[in-house]
């Protein structure tokens, strides 16, 4: 038997049992719309790629990281003793930031292309849930080195659940493992970061990707308005996939450049008795809500400002989350335009408060 015959009969054997040819046929028929805004279709894939980078570099860090009382010492060892440990840690930190950025670009492009409309409501909701879990990934991962910055960031961050009336203190103590941020906090954040959050994220991601396969890429309203004969598309296999992978390669190069040219720093070991370092500020993706709460605090001082701020904030997020249910028309009428303005308002206020936040760091 020639090798061609052998591989054919092997493929036949596997195909009969796993149905590979059905998958191949599905992939052959999958099409992606081509239009002036096609560029934004890559950002979901870029987010996915960066998540894979996180899994990979995360496992590598897990090889030497020791949670609990030795957390700082083990990160110091990774950064300064193990060969290229600094690079792997830097890649993990940079890819985390780039992933949040890519998810946000993906979210806003979905919003402005109105890709959340029927039948893609679950895609929007699961995507928002993924962003939510990703920010908790970011928050919990930030504590892992247990240096000064991570200590104070966690201390401040946990004041937000603590400000919930009645149950707040109990929730914050449960998350912290006691009244103060300590080795118990890093130990339970570690469990959250490497077990609980992946266990939530992976099935959500599977669901999200399955929905993309089921419904395909959404065309924006301007494309939908065109007659079918004028709409263009290209096969996913191999045309779009090839470009998708090229984007992954570009992302990897940008990541490698950032991680090696701007290595992530490690501060001094945390010390509950030393004052907070000057110029301490939240990560950029928490800067906007932080600044908004500060602004509301100026208008409405005291506890009421905090509660009011959290209420206004929750209402805004709820409004954002429920967009598929009140902007569901396929025509770009007045209601559609209103959603568009809401999106513009969200982008502008996010950018403005972030800029103000960085501007006012002392």
């Amino acid at each position: 038997m020639t090798s061609k015959h052998l591989s054919e009969s092997l493929y036949g054997w596997v195909d009969e049992r796993l149905g590979l040819s059905e998958l191949a046929a599905f992939a052959r028929h999958k099409k992606v719309p081509v239009h002036s805004q096609s560029f934004w279709y890559y950002w979901g894939g870029i987010s996915l790629f960066l998540f894979l980078v996180q899994c990979f570099t995360g496992v590598l860090l897990l090889v030497y990281f020791r949670p609990g009382a030795e957390a700082y010492e083990s990160v110091r060892q990774i950064t300064f003793v193990m060969h290229f440990g600094w690079l792997i840690r830097s890649a993990h930190a940079w890819a985390a930031n780039l992933m949040i950025f890519a998810i946000m670009v993906h979210m806003f492009s979905v919003f402005f292309m109105k890709a959340y409309r029927k039948p893609r409501e679950f895609g929007w909701l699961s995507g928002m849930a993924l962003l939510g879990v990703a920010t908790v990934f970011g928050f919990s991962g930030y504590l892992m080195p247990m240096d000064e910055l991570s200590y104070f960031a966690t201390k401040v961050g946990l004041e937000i659940p603590a400000s919930i009336p009645i149950v707040g203190t109990a929730i914050a103590n449960m998350l912290r493992g006691g009244p103060e941020v300590s080795e118990f906090t890093v130990q339970r954040f570690f469990a959250l970061h490497v077990v609980v959050l992946p266990a939530l994220f992976l099935p959500l991601l599977g669901f999200h990707l399955w929905l993309v396969q089921r419904h395909g890429n959404a065309a924006p309203p301007s494309e939908e308005a065109k007659p079918a004969s004028e709409r263009k598309s290209e096969p996913f296999m191999p045309n779009f996939l090839r470009k998708d992978l090229a984007m992954w390669l570009i992302s990897l190069n940008i990541l490698a450049l950032l991680a090696s040219v701007f290595p992530w720093s490690l501060g001094k070991q945390f010390d509950p008795l030393s004052p907070a370092p000057v110029g301490i500020h939240p990560e950029w993706y928490f800067m906007s809500p932080f600044e908004m709460l500060k602004m509301i605090g100026v208008v409405l001082p005291g506890v009421w400002g905090e509660i009011g701020g959290i209420l206004i904030f929750s209402a805004g997020i709820l409004l954002w989350l429920l967009i598929p249910f009140y902007d569901n028309s396929s025509e770009s009428g007045r209601r559609g335009r209103r959603a568009h303005y809401f999106g513009l308002f969200a982008v502008i206020s996010l950018l403005a408060t972030t800029v103000i936040g960085y501007w006012t760091i002392r």
Binding site: L60, V63, V81, M82, H83, F84, G85, L87, I88
Partner: protein, 161 residues
């Protein structure tokens, strides 16, 4: 090149073109390989770091055991020679013997038994002579290696024989 086999017969491939295509494919393959190597090298070195540290530790040729000269006759002191366990035996007759404590069969740590006057491996029942390290019975294929021992007032110096 095999790519040409896929071309329909009526397409004539200029020799120059084939060379360009072949050159391009080779160059792309080489670039891909270099790229993969550039990614794999730091990861390999990162994972191999403890192994390299251990290599530095095994380069040790002698160990000084402080106050070990006070070891009572008929007893044993376990210590690390480099990274591997080793034993120092002070025999009832006053002789000092030091040997590796790693069984030559499957690498378990062996034990000196003063009552039976033997070195025994609990994993598969290997037995060694406590004076020479010779494999006496059981599965061990080779004897335990002996170290040189020098006893002084400050301690015991063990070195590679």
């Amino acid at each position: 090149m095999s790519e040409n086999n896929n071309l329909p017969a009526n397409i004539v491939v200029e020799p120059g073109e084939t060379l360009t295509r072949r050159f391009f494919m080779t160059a792309a393959g080489a670039a891909g390989l270099l790229y993969t190597a550039a990614l794999a090298y730091p990861i390999y070195r990162y994972l191999a770091s403890p192994e390299e540290m251990a290599m530095n530790a095994t380069a040790v040729t002698e160990v000084t055991l402080k106050d070990a000269q006070k070891l009572a006759p008929g007893s044993v002191l376990m210590f690390k020679f480099g990274t591997a366990p080793a034993m120092l035996i002070h025999h009832e007759d006053g002789r000092w013997i030091s040997l590796t404590a790693v069984c030559t069969h499957l690498g378990c740590t062996v034990q000196y038994e003063p009552q039976a006057d033997r070195i025994h491996c609990a994993c598969h029942g290997g037995v060694y002579d406590p004076y020479t390290g010779a494999n006496v019975s059981g599965p061990p294929p080779r004897p335990l290696k002996l170290f040189k021992v020098a006893v002084s007032d400050a301690g015991v110096q063990v070195s590679r024989a």
